[in-house]
Symmetry: C2
Subunit: 141 residues, 2 copies
């Protein structure tokens, strides 16, 4: 099933976050976007833009990341991208180095086996991975 806003807010409260308007709107925005977003994009998007300050979004994102509900991604841009961590959903991305388009890849991710191997061999904890493909999209080529 698809996570909904109430689920997310519930998980937030379990992590000790208070239910504020800003939190609700931020989560709703991330959920609706279904794509990694930069702080700048979030700051400009309605209704976030009118609801709260850049610093608030920034701090919420980091609290959410600490709670494991949001992940910060690199995606080859100067700005950081943030995306919701939804249960049993892992996304890899295909990114155009010219226009910056980000496409989620729906093929099954081929690195879980290697991830397990690394977990066992190295003793790293809380292991996860980030896989991005970069290239020039047909439109830009």
């Amino acid at each position: 099933m698809i996570a909904d806003l109430e689920d997310l807010l519930h998980r937030c409260r379990k992590s000790g976050l208070r239910r504020t308007k800003a939190l609700e709107v931020l989560l709703a925005t991330l959920l609706k976007a279904d794509q990694p977003m930069t702080l700048a994009q979030l700051e400009k998007s309605r209704p976030l833009a009118t609801q709260c300050d850049k610093a608030t979004i920034y701090r919420l994102l980091h609290r959410l990341a600490d709670a494991g509900m949001v992940r910060r991604l690199g995606l080859h841009e100067r700005a950081a991208y943030f995306t919701l961590v939804l249960p049993d959903q892992h996304r890899d991305y295909l990114i155009c180095t010219e226009c910056g388009t980000i496409d989620p890849i729906d093929a099954p991710c081929p690195v879980h086996e290697l991830e397990n191997e690394i977990r066992n061999k190295t003793g790293y904890q809380n292991l996860y991975h980030e896989l991005e493909f970069f290239g020039i999209c047909p439109k830009c080529a």
Copy 2:
């Protein structure tokens, strides 16, 4: 075979870059490091520090990236990392989210097949990928 400095300089000249002291020292530093490095690290490292300016390193890295000899990586930090692109060498990384340690992974990379699939299905050109594992290393745990 392992690339050496003269190889690299030769490739540079073929791309139209002039052979300057700064270029030599930068390439030698990247080659010796055998690890992605940030601009700040490069700027401080000897003998680069005494040889040239931050802006020079910055511009050289970008020229080298345009020539396909250097790649810019995200690696989950605020600063960009740069690494030499050596023929038939692809590296994935294991990164500690606490202390920032970066370990190259020597296991064979399991995504080339998917990469080919993506190339064929999407028509993206110059496709390459970046794969990073993140976790908490035993020392930090």
